[in-house]
């Protein structure tokens, strides 16, 4: 095969891939669904990060004076679509953009909201995480889209949260809580007490296999605490948006608990990381999608943490 043939074939592969993903890409829009009074969600699709830019559940809470956006999606285009959808829904201006954590599917849309009156809010450790990771994320996104990484798209939080912070939206208060290292080291959850709605960010996954990028012990600890509290409904970072609580936390707790136990057993037997990745299985695979993409990675993260336990 000559280089020319190869190029032709690669082009064919590219075009056929685009053509074939087209019906999928247009099957969902930036439509916001009302889940409670003044509370909306743009549901994400269960898909692999970068391969699709609309995978995270995005939220909107509207007060009398201000609206708050919770996560902005996986690209500036995605952020713009959300911005337009909000404009069609309400005249109340967006005053706050809250990022639940550093992952690209939750914050690469920030740029679309960068305007004078908008304040970006995140966990105390979010600025460092963004500074270290955003460049890599943009490059990866560019590799997938065939574009060029544009670092002006990186938007850092201006206001950071330690412990708890309240945001006043006008006749409505949001409570933001900074968590200990769990899914990442910069997880923030948001409660709208008026409707009893909890936005968990990626502390809760449903259907999409949980992805461990922080601490498995910390994550189980934070979930344990959250599941002792009462909410009318929760919006997980990924999965069905009208989940009941605390039931919605249970699949993630089961997966992480079983991952922790089997990894500890493996370490105690003196097994190495490579074998552990091959051998540790997901105990209830029927509950999850994207096992292939994330489970081995989770084993590595859990192993690297748990092997230091005494």
């Amino acid at each position: 095969m000559t280089a020319g043939d190869r190029w032709q074939l690669q082009r064919l592969l590219l075009y056929s891939t685009i053509l074939c993903s087209w019906p999928v890409l247009t099957s969902a829009d930036a439509g916001l669904q009302r889940i409670a009074d003044g509370v909306y969600v743009r549901p994400g699709r269960i898909a692999v990060v970068f391969e699709d830019d609309s995978i995270a559940n995005l939220g909107l809470v509207i007060g009398s004076r201000c609206a708050a956006v919770i996560d902005t999606g996986g690209s500036v285009a995605e952020g713009r679509a959300l911005y337009r959808a909000i404009g069609k829904l309400t005249d109340v201006p967006v005053c706050f953009v809250i990022n639940t954590h550093v992952h690209p599917d939750h914050m690469l849309g920030n740029k679309a909201f960068q305007r004078d009156h908008v304040q970006f809010v995140g966990h105390r450790k979010l600025p460092r995480a963004v500074a270290l990771r955003a460049g890599t994320y943009l490059q990866r996104a560019a590799e997938y889209s065939g574009g060029v990484a544009d670092e002006s798209q990186i938007v850092l939080p201006e206001r950071t949260v330690s412990g708890e912070v309240q945001l006043d939206l006008g006749q409505r208060i949001l409570i933001l809580r900074a968590h200990a290292t769990a899914h990442t080291d910069n997880d923030l959850s948001i409660v709208d007490p008026q409707t009893g709605t909890l936005f968990t960010g990626d502390l809760v996954f449903l259907e999409h296999l949980p992805v461990l990028d922080g601490s498995i012990n910390g994550w189980l600890g934070e979930l344990d605490q959250l599941m002792g509290e009462t909410f009318e409904r929760v919006v997980p970072g990924h999965g069905p948006v009208l989940a009941a609580w605390p039931q919605a936390g249970e699949p993630a707790v089961r997966y992480l608990t079983e991952l922790r136990e089997s990894t500890r057993t493996w370490i105690a037997r003196g097994g190495d990381l490579g074998e552990a990745q091959e051998r540790i299985e997901v105990s209830r695979p029927e509950h999850w999608q994207l096992i292939e993409q994330y489970h081995k990675r989770n084993v590595a993260a859990a192993f690297a943490e748990l092997e230091w336990e005494d």
Binding site: Q10, L13, P23, A131, L132, A134, T181, T184, D185, G218
Partner: protein, 289 residues
């Protein structure tokens, strides 16, 4: 089936066929010759001049075909010969051809190692061959090669819980086991697996802070020496391609009770050391208080 669904299904299977065709025909393009360009084009001669390198069973490199996490790629090397005074593997070079610094490290063994097996975790920056070259005491070179699909390992950020690694920098942990995982007095003279773990960020110097536009300076473990009762059993000279919290698995032969000593030096000149009591009769290891 509605008209529209039927049309979509038709388009779908056409597309699937197209993708399969394109994937099948272009799949064979990545030949070993192309993959090995960095090696044949300079690396090989830079390190080994025109010395003969055999590709045989003297060592076997095991690496995952696809790295699930490019910053922690588990690699293991298995020796095809035991370490005897007459014939043993003296040094293993480990390369990731396409990393910014291809040489991961040089690992030295002695007859007291018992077996020149090695396990560690690497950063792999892009799709690249990984190769281990063993030099025996009589100066022969033997190579084993594998290909790893990974990307972004060297510039990948530190783990999310980097505060934990930083706070405990220099902390070490030793694990020693019989190969079978069970303790048997009769196996006293058999090589036993040891794992040395070191808390260290092992920063590559390739992670840019997007706010300050500065690269965090490289800071990594550069030398590890392990001895048993004063006799050297394992030495590593390493680069930043070793993952955060470096972990090394190697063998030694504890013919008697004794002290296993690890001495570690990093690029900042910091020195860490740990001493462990090995009791071969029970197979138990206790940290000296």
């Amino acid at each position: 089936m509605s008209m529209q669904t039927r049309r979509r299904a038709g388009v779908g299977s056409f597309c699937l066929a197209l993708i399969l065709l394109a994937a099948l025909t272009s799949g064979a393009q990545a030949t070993t010759v192309e993959e090995d360009m960095a090696w044949t084009g300079g690396l090989r001669s830079a390190y080994f001049a025109d010395r003969e390198i055999k590709s045989d069973e003297l060592i076997t490199l095991e690496a995952p075909q696809r790295a699930e996490n490019a910053a922690i790629v588990p690699i293991s090397i298995k020796a095809g010969i035991p370490q005897t005074e007459d014939r043993y593997i003296r040094t293993i070079w480990l390369f990731v051809d396409k990393n910014p610094g291809p040489l991961v490290g040089k690992f030295h063994f002695t007859p007291a190692s018992g077996r020149a097996d090695l396990g560690l975790r690497l950063r792999v920056d892009t799709y690249s061959p990984v190769r281990a070259i063993a030099e025996t005491n009589d100066g022969e070179l033997h190579m084993s090669r594998s290909f790893v699909k990974a990307s972004g390992g060297c510039s990948a950020p530190a783990s999310s819980d980097s505060d934990a690694a930083r706070e405990q920098l220099g902390k070490m942990k030793f694990l020693v086991r019989n190969e079978s995982g069970e303790d048997k007095a009769s196996e006293v003279e058999q090589p036993r697996l040891a794992q040395l773990m070191i808390r260290h960020p092992n920063r590559s110097g390739l992670q840019m802070d997007q706010v300050t536009r500065h690269y965090a300076p490289a800071e990594f473990v550069k030398q590890v020496k392990v001895s048993f009762e004063g006799e050297e059993i394992f030495e590593a000279e390493t680069s930043f391609a070793v993952s955060e919290n470096p972990s090394f698995r190697f063998y030694f032969v504890p013919q008697r009770e004794g002290e296993l000593v690890a001495e570690v030096v990093d690029t900042e000149g910091r020195q860490f050391s740990e001493t462990y009591e090995v009791s071969p009769l029970t197979g138990e290891v206790a940290a000296k208080q």
